[in-house]
Point group: C2
Chain length 441, copies 2
Amino acid sequence: MANDLRLGVAGLGTVGASLVRLVSEKSDALARRCARGVRVTGVSARSRGRDRGIDLSGIAWFDDPVKLATSGEIDLFVELMGGDSGAAEESVRAALSSGKHVVTANKALLAKHGVELAKLAEENGVSLNFEAAVAGGIPIVKTMRESLAGNHVNRVYGILNGTCNYILTRMEREGLAFAECLADAQRLGYAEADPTFDIEGFDTAHKLALLTSLAFGCEIDAGAIYVEGISSITIADIEAADELGYRIKLLGVAQRTETGIEQRVHPTMVPKSSAIARIDGVLNAVAVDGDTVGEVVLVGPGAGGNATASAVVADIADIARGDRTPTLGKPAAELEPYKPAGMRKHEGGYYIRLSVYDRPGAFARIAQEMATQNISLESIVQRRRAVRSDAPGSSQPAEPQPVILITYETTEAAIREALEIIASQNVIADRPQMIRIEKLS
Amino acid sequence: MANDLRLGVAGLGTVGASLVRLVSEKSDALARRCARGVRVTGVSARSRGRDRGIDLSGIAWFDDPVKLATSGEIDLFVELMGGDSGAAEESVRAALSSGKHVVTANKALLAKHGVELAKLAEENGVSLNFEAAVAGGIPIVKTMRESLAGNHVNRVYGILNGTCNYILTRMEREGLAFAECLADAQRLGYAEADPTFDIEGFDTAHKLALLTSLAFGCEIDAGAIYVEGISSITIADIEAADELGYRIKLLGVAQRTETGIEQRVHPTMVPKSSAIARIDGVLNAVAVDGDTVGEVVLVGPGAGGNATASAVVADIADIARGDRTPTLGKPAAELEPYKPAGMRKHEGGYYIRLSVYDRPGAFARIAQEMATQNISLESIVQRRRAVRSDAPGSSQPAEPQPVILITYETTEAAIREALEIIASQNVIADRPQMIRIEKLS
């Protein structure tokens, strides 16, 4: 049997503590699967004194993660600190440069420096694995990197952020406002004190950037992603979606088009009958459409200490067994440059909610503007708000009324043009709401 | 770059032909992923003359698959002939013994000889991979063997036979009888001329036997599986399930119990809200419940030439890259003996449909017998069939009426005992229908 694989774990938050516990508790089973022992020999975290409920006796402590990364005590560096620069970046670079394998759950770091770090790993003949960085416990990285080897991927999409999905699910089920659901998510530990990163879609974008590279064999370009979060979604949108046969999900979508690869993160209306519509609460789901296999969907817990640690252990076991798959599926130097498709050319149906002044001719002007842009309407729903009984004949300006439009397939450019002109004509009260409709099975 | 990996493909049916085409069409992408070329150098099939729509020029033809398996022209033998003995068994043994890697889609062969063949592979220092043998294009073997390395599995279950799922879906959606849906499945090529193997659950059992070994690290024991097919399912059952909030699916279930491992294949009532209830048509789905990750569900095409070939290519790519995972996740000699749990002790709720003679006291006797066996009833549905208006007062024996019982959790032994006694008392007309209810999320 080969020598034990010695792990250095930097970052002892929820995931790090789960990992240390897991490696110790499952050491026999792991050794059998990997044909060698696996054990934690060094750790690093901010506060040495804190009680994490794990036994660190016999494990070397490092105040400096870079020292741990380059220590002769370890063969594999596990980076669980987070952040796209600073200690995380320095220690991962140091580990790879000194010939240590690296396993990380850090999507922000890889979204920014992934290709470069993959090259560094290759130059040093070591592995850089990141299953836990995308969709937590779901084995999507391995599936795309290894199981779809015989496929040309056409599209990959998914629910990649449990916080947003939890909020949307509660809004839908209980009719609660966005702010209320967010507050609950924070109370339950599903959302950070500063939730911007999750709810504005940036976390989803980081994960999508990695999936895009795996799917299309191209370089990572998170900056090219169109990102829109869920903070503008109202109960009115959720209810209208429900009536029209849709649910609203925050999706990350990457797809091959004639002009290049489209990457986008935005709230999406998905048919209630689709598999993705039924993924509720903190679960994640990823669907990959391969030209050979068809569509494969993976569903599971996208976050949480244990689920994420499970993915980290899988990466460690691969390295222990000697499996050396390139970080992004093929050698980093062979990744093609990312060629973006113009988002404005995105074709699809749209949901539009307008707050229309109840004045003669207002609706005609809206319909006219849509027609001018060649946008066909699939349905129009105008629901009158309750009107006070003393209102008729009153000289007060009429209250704005919600009008919902569902368009047939059109381009984003046309929609934006139409809405801009409508907004300039003093017929609507607020900024129009626009949600893309995705055709999914 | 290493030498090309040379493949010998035995069996050129739908999957074999797809594979030969795929390896040729994707040779560049495959070479980049595997850091070496992959090409088919030999094939074997029954009829040399048949037009399969693939280009076999430059590929050596072997009439005898065993000769191909041991040929110096190949490094890896792909067995796509099928059958649990004969040519498939002989050629796989010959390939492994002569130091060739083997990739197979043959569940019947592995269900019978898997452990022994895994040992033979290890003794000869080669790989034996079988992703395509379970759930077609879904990467469930790799997920269980590699991605769940940090998990102790509690339960694995799934829809593993597309033919049965197609039949049940059509019965439910269109209210058609079993025989009619089966005939359509045969016409569409989803079911064999002799459909016994699929519809009586044996195909599902073979796949389940392999999943059980991967899940629990035990030897394969397909003979120990309790198997019941779908041919007794009627429209009355499907309609009653629907009214009660369930759907009927043919599931393979393996779960750890206090006494041992339970393996069973049978029609199952699953809550409409569960993920598995929504898998329709020829799709397959597998859910694995790991103690670390929680539940992960994989959904995708379970059959078809291309989907299956996609899984075969993934296995080939692993071998080309040098990934050497043991066939069943750990060395075959370390697999524990399979320790069965007593099926009769299976605890769960039951659906029972009885055809009860409409006579005074009939129902009281049934209720009494259930009570004697300590079986509590969650619901009772008695729907009267349309009765002729001249019936009252007629001296003819009353028509039997369908009565549906849903029990609370009880043991299979108690249910069988109760039904046996009820059947002996001349209160019911036909054999009682009994379907297990599975608690799923």
